[in-house]
């Protein structure tokens, strides 16, 4: 592994956004006007170096595509050492490109979106800080540094969800996000500790290559604990409740943090730690089924939501569920591929939603929109591309990535999972089409006095660029085993499986890699061709699209049907009462336990014991003070009596 120029400059990738954040935090007030520009330039610079690194990596032989470097030693205690070191391999480079690429476009868009906000420089400082944190997360070469990045992105998420401090909802949502993530992070922290116990190091290279030595029990424990962290960050059941509320933040934040990058950290982490997951079939099944349950539940909720950003938020939760399903069946490259395409089309649609809100005085209710394609042609046109991509329209990015996930699930032999995933695909087709039809098509239902207008060029350009990416990115990895994307990423995610080690406990690998770095797919015996599977998957998505078209464009009286909602509609509309159930289970019961502890155990038992002892002493004293009469002669009688008694005793003993 020869270290060469651009890899040595890799520290600049997170370094530039950090510089931007520090500059804007300390000097932002002096340069409100330039804040957006500075932040965007930093991101673009970071992206350029990332791109350079990427091409350098591509030019190297597949087996040598790994570079690690150490900036300085962070903690050193005996044999234990944590260094601030970074890792450049195909997986981290892909993540770097997504974070900085999509990030740059969103920074650019934010210049238009946040114009006129009096805390603009603070906003861009946080946005840059987020990019830095996310890059630390994906570039880290040991668990502890990754954990630092992991917590930093959580902090930035908190700061940015609650950015509009004057909104009570924003404050509550930011706290909800932070606290919910804490729950998962406890699992992640415990998982990291357990890794240290078993491996004696937190270094990725060592942990990943030695994971075969783990027992099935230890692997299951570590994998499930890590997955708890992933479920928190990537909004999976049971910790998904924070993500829809996170939409209280400014829309570019929703696009960058809560759709394209931060929420995929869990997917990245599971992908990165896949050798440990692969040791435990139990953990893999948990990942797959939790992913499925999340994909279905979020899709069902999204069916009836009216808030444009909330539909997209539930869609994000659902798509993340797809990625975890793919991870759970071992289709790592498909999961990472979907992560990338999803980052493009979901960021695009979030920015499109922001553009709609920008043009409609912050209206978010899609039942009050309609027909916007004529007044906002650019927003509508790009949004439609994002929509077709997520639905899986042939040729667009989501078509390839989602089909590959479904093919991976089918290939794992888990037919029930595959059918359920098809249902989720159908639901995705329906709710996304409903969103688009209600927003951009049909007749206008705008409120009086709202005059929609297209957004400025600084917002439209990022939309257009993202639309190109969302449309074209799929071709980078058009087929699972032969697409360029997969050939590039696969060495990072299917490196350590070997036949000799495989047992019943280990999961079935999707591909193996030989000494030359060539990837060999593990062929399934009864696998239909990708074409057949792709057709079925696409049909599911397009069927949803068709049903939505019938309901919202084809004269179905959906507005009238709302007057008499069915039970299922109400359940979906109210998000299956998950928040209420959590409120009861955790907040309610927690408060009850606390109240019992405070008012019964503390006040009655502990305080009670103490005060009863005090009262007993007091009662004894009342008796005792009666002896003290104040009459000297009575004391003299006592003294005399005592002397007499002592005298009698002495005389008696002398006998």
């Amino acid at each position: 592994m020869t270290s060469s120029g651009v890899f040595e400059a890799a520290w600049l990738i997170p370094g530039l956004p950090l510089l931007g954040a520090v500059l804007l935090l300390f000097l932002g007030r002096r340069m409100t006007k330039a804040a957006g520009g500075i932040a965007t330039v930093m991101m673009a610079g970071s992206f350029t170096i990332g791109l350079w690194t990427f091409f350098k990596l591509v030019s190297m032989p597949a087996a040598e595509r790994l570079h690690t470097g150490t900036l300085y030693t962070f903690i050193k205690a005996g044999n234990f050492e944590v260094a601030l070191d970074y890792r450049i391999d195909p997986l981290s480079v892909i993540m770097i490109l997504v974070v900085t690429g999509v990030g740059s476009l969103i920074h650019l868009y934010s210049i238009g979106y946040m114009r006129g906000d009096d805390r603009e420089s603070r906003f861009f400082a946080y946005l840059n800080l987020f990019a830095f944190s996310m890059l630390v997360l994906v570039m880290a070469n040991n668990m502890l540094i990754m954990y630092v990045g992991w917590e930093l992105v959580g902090l930035c998420s908190y700061l940015l969800i609650g950015f509009w401090t004057e909104r009570p909802g924003a404050g509550l949502a930011s706290k909800k996000a932070f606290i919910t993530n804490r729950v998962g992070d406890v699992g992640l922290a415990l998982g990291i500790m357990l890794i240290f116990v078993h491996f004696g190091t937190l270094d990725f290279s060592q942990v990943l290559s030695e994971s075969g030595a783990l027992g099935a029990g230890a692997a299951t424990a570590i994998a499930l604990l890590l997955f708890a962290g992933a479920a928190g960050k990537s909004a999976q059941i049971p910790l998904f409740v924070w993500l829809p509320d996170a939409m209280e933040g400014p829309t570019p934040v929703s696009a960058l943090i809560h759709a394209a990058t931060m929420v995929t950290a869990g997917v990245y982490m599971v992908g990165r730690m896949h050798p440990i997951f692969a040791e435990s079939a139990v953990a893999m099944n948990v990942v797959a089924w939790v992913g499925l349950a999340t994909a279905l539940l979020a899709a069902l909720i999204a069916l009836t939501q009216d808030d444009i950003k909330r539909v997209l938020a539930y869609s994000t939760v659902s798509q993340l569920g797809f990625m975890f399903m793919a991870l759970g069946v071992g289709a790592y490259t498909a999961a990472i591929f979907h992560l990338v395409t999803h980052a493009f089309f979901k960021a695009l649609m979030f920015l499109g939603a922001g553009s709609v809100m920008h043009g409609l005085d912050d209206e978010t209710d899609i039942t009050k929109m309609g027909g916007l394609r004529t007044v906002m042609p650019w927003t509508a046109g790009t949004f439609v591309i994002g929509w077709l991509a997520i639905v899986g329209f042939p040729g667009l990015s989501g078509f390839f990535s989602k089909d590959q996930i479904l093919a991976g699930i089918y290939g794992s032999g888990n037919t029930a999972l595959w059918i359920a995933a098809l249902v989720a695909t159908f639901l995705t087709g329906f709710y996304m089409s409903r969103l688009v039809f209600l927003t951009f098509f049909g007749r206008s239902r705008l409120a009086e006095g709202v005059h929609p207008h297209e957004s400025p060029a600084v917002m439209v350009w990022p939309l257009a660029l993202l639309a190109i990416a969302a449309a074209g990115a799929g071709w980078l990895g058009a087929t699972v085993h032969h697409g360029g994307f997969h050939r590039f990423v696969a060495p990072a995610v299917c490196g350590v499986h070997d036949e000799a080690h495989a047992t019943e406990q280990t999961a079935v690998p999707i591909c193996t890699i030989d000494a030359e770095g060539e990837v060999h797919p593990v062929e399934q015996e009864t696998m239909p061709s990708e074409l057949v599977l792709g057709t079925v998957a696409t049909a599911a998505g397009v069927a949803g699209l068709g049903l939505a078209g019938f309901m919202y464009l084809g004269g179905f009286p959906w507005e009238r049907r709302r007057q008499s909602p069915t039970l299922a509609w109400k359940a979906s509309r109210n998000k299956f009462f998950v928040d209420e159930i959590y409120q009861f289970l955790f907040t309610g019961l927690g408060k009850a336990v606390a109240a019992t502890a405070a008012f019964v155990i503390d006040r009655r038992v502990i305080d009670g014991t103490v005060s009863r002892i005090a009262h007993g002493v007091g009662a004894l004293a009342v008796l005792g003070r009666k002896l003290q009469t104040g009459l000297v002669r009575s004391y003299a009688v006592g003294v005399l009596g005592g002397v007499v008694v002592l005298g009698i005793l002495l005389v008696a003993r002398a006998r």
């Binding site: 005792g624 009666k626 000297v632």
Partner: protein
């Protein structure tokens, strides 16, 4: 020849008189004198036993008692005088502020 028992009987009689005086009388001066009586009864027994055993220990202790009694008389009388100045009485039953 006077027997030691007779000295001791006299001492016992003097001591009993002192005890009764302390217990029965309320006048602080009388109580005080009764205490002196008891001390001297004890002195008498000490001197008697000293003679009986041919030692000087008892006589020495008797001197100590006399000296301490003199000091005690100074303090005690001063207290009685100051109590009288404050309360216009020397009855010990009237001085009972310290009761419980």
């Amino acid at each position: 020849m006077i027997l030691p028992a007779q000295y001791l009987a006299l001492a016992g009689l003097l001591f009993a008189t002192g005890v009764v005086g302390v217990l029965a009388r309320r006048n602080a001066i009388v109580v005080f004198m009764s205490i002196e009586l008891m001390l001297n009864a004890v002195n008498l027994t000490l001197v008697t036993f000293a003679r009986m055993h041919g030692h000087l220990d008892g006589q020495v202790i008797a001197f100590f008692v006399m000296i301490v009694a003199a000091a005690e008389a100074v303090v005690g009388l001063a207290l009685i005088v100051s109590i009288f100045r404050r309360k216009r009485t020397v009855s010990i039953d009237d001085v009972r502020e310290m009761h419980g």
